[in-house]
């Protein structure tokens, strides 16, 4: 299979706090990877490093088998990777990101939000951008609200527009950073439904989530992150029905209480 993202030895520290302690991961086209773990385990940081909203402290990230950044080798020193802003901007256009807080642009209507990246980054002309934006809004079921400003939309509706905004860029992979955590419980379903629909289109997805059931049914690979490393990984069945390691069992037990 064709590799979309490959991560090698990824570390991230914030001053003294060592959050990611060596992550290796290969994501192939069409993979739907659920990333689970308790708060502070580093799962959001991992996602944010992948599109360089956080700069990795160490390690390599390959996008379609091409190293992001330039490796600089000096004598007697470990090779270092330098990142150029223009290269990062380019890579980010291929990696969609959906945030916990939606982060729609409040001064633009729903459809303007979806058109923005097309117009100002991809330089697509207005009418083509509009056509494409309509298509994506239709896909997330938000076409009737196209001309509404975000402040007049519910959280679930805002998140669906945010998903359409990312999709419009035709990304190779979509990152979801706790996309439903900020929503009122009754609004979670519509966003999960949208994500599920997306998964059936063959989109490659990395999903940081607390929705264990959703991870179980939608993903084909589950990663449990604990204290900055991949503690256990496998198919949903392996991880949820038959976890091998103690810490994974304890983490999942916290959710089991609520199941029948």
């Amino acid at each position: 299979m064709e590799s979309v993202l490959r991560i090698e030895g990824l570390h991230k520290s914030f001053d003294d706090l060592h959050v990611l302690k060596g992550i290796d991961l290969n994501i192939e086209k069409g993979d739907i990877v659920a990333i689970i773990g308790s708060s502070g385990s580093g799962k959001s940081t991992l996602l944010r490093c992948i599109n360089f909203l956080e700069m990795p402290s160490k390690g390599r990230i390959y996008f379609k088998n091409k190293l992001i950044g330039n490796e600089i080798k000096k004598k007697n020193r470990k090779p270092q990777i330098k990142y150029k802003e223009s290269q990062l901007c380019k890579v980010r256009t291929h990696i969609g990101m959906v945030f916990q807080q939606f982060n729609l642009f409040p001064h633009m209507t729903a459809i303007e939000n979806v058109m923005e990246g097309l117009k100002s980054v991809l330089k697509i002309d207005k009418s083509t951008a509009k056509k494409k934006a309509k298509e994506k809004l239709e896909m997330v079921g938000m076409m009737e609200k196209a001309d509404i400003y975000p402040s007049r939309l519910s959280g679930g509706q805002q998140q669906r527009v945010a998903i359409a905004r990312s999709l419009a860029m035709d990304p190779e992979v979509m990152l979801f950073d706790e996309a439903t955590s900020a929503l009122d419980p009754e609004l979670v379903g519509e966003v999960l439904k949208t994500m599920e629909d997306l998964s059936s289109t063959g989109m490659t997805m990395l999903i940081v989530t607390h929705e264990i059931e959703f991870a179980y049914t939608v993903s084909n690979h589950v990663i449990f992150i604990h204290e900055g490393i991949i503690h256990e990984q496998g198919t949903p069945k392996e991880i949820f029905s038959n976890p091998k390691r103690q810490r994974t069992k304890e983490f999942l037990a916290g959710f089991r209480h609520f199941e029948n």
């Binding site: 901007c89 990101m97 982060n103």
Partner: protein
């Protein structure tokens, strides 16, 4: 009190002198407002930069102009600058430069506060779409920041218009200077300065009311 014989007729007969001054008041106010806003945006951007090489000089500039009286600044640009640069500086140029710099310094702080008030998520959303710094500023950050700072900027332009009267001290022919000329010529300072005050009041009060209305309108659309 009753001994004074008010005579406004003579002022009205010479109203064209004041009108000429008013025109120059508008000219100096508008030109230093617009130029100052542009320079202020650059300065504000420099202030926000993580690079010391950019932020430090901008901070020095801003603090100098915020912490010296505008009158001193005008005097300095009129008397000291020509000697330093060895060139002629007209009263308009001296007033224009000092008021522009003064306005730029205060505007830089307004921009800075406005930009800082935009949530981190907005920056991240723009970045995640692949926007570079300039696009992000132009399309996402500034439209929101400017909307939030419009009330502060309208106050700033009222303040700046009031400050232009200081240019009369270096013989720039704006409203205050024309008033002084006229009063020396007609020996009617009381009537003349009453009229001058009234003209200033009408302009500035209109500006203040306008700024209040704008503020109300902007807060409603949020």
């Amino acid at each position: 009190m009753g001994a004074y014989n008010w005579d406004f007729l003579i002022v009205f007969q010479n109203l064209d002198v004041l009108a000429k001054g008013l025109l120059l008041t508008f000219k100096i106010a508008a030109s230093s407002l617009v130029t100052g806003l542009i320079i202020g945006l650059v300065l504000g951007g420099m202030r926000l930069s993580k690079k010391k090489l950019l932020s430090f000089p901008a901070a020095v500039f801003v603090e100098i102009f915020r912490n010296t009286p505008a009158l001193v600044q005008i005097m300095w640009f009129f008397y000291a600058l020509p000697i330093l640069l060895n060139l002629q500086v007209s009263p308009f140029m001296a007033a224009f430069l000092s008021l522009t710099m003064n306005n730029a310094a205060f505007s830089a702080e307004i921009y800075k506060a406005g930009i800082n008030s935009i949530e981190k998520g907005q920056w991240e959303a723009g970045k995640a779409l692949g926007m570079n710094f300039l696009k992000l500023m132009q399309r996402v950050i500034l439209p929101q920041a400017i909307k939030r700072t419009i009330p502060a900027f309208t106050n700033r332009s009222v303040e700046l218009t009031r400050m232009t009267s200081l240019a009369s001290t270096i013989a720039y022919g704006e409203l205050m200077y024309q008033g002084r000329l006229l009063s020396e010529y007609l020996y009617r300072p009381i009537e003349i300065f009453t009229t001058v005050a009234l003209i200033y009041f009408i302009i500035l009060y209109t500006g203040t009311i306008f700024s209040g209305l704008l503020e109300k309108r902007l807060s409603r659309s949020d």
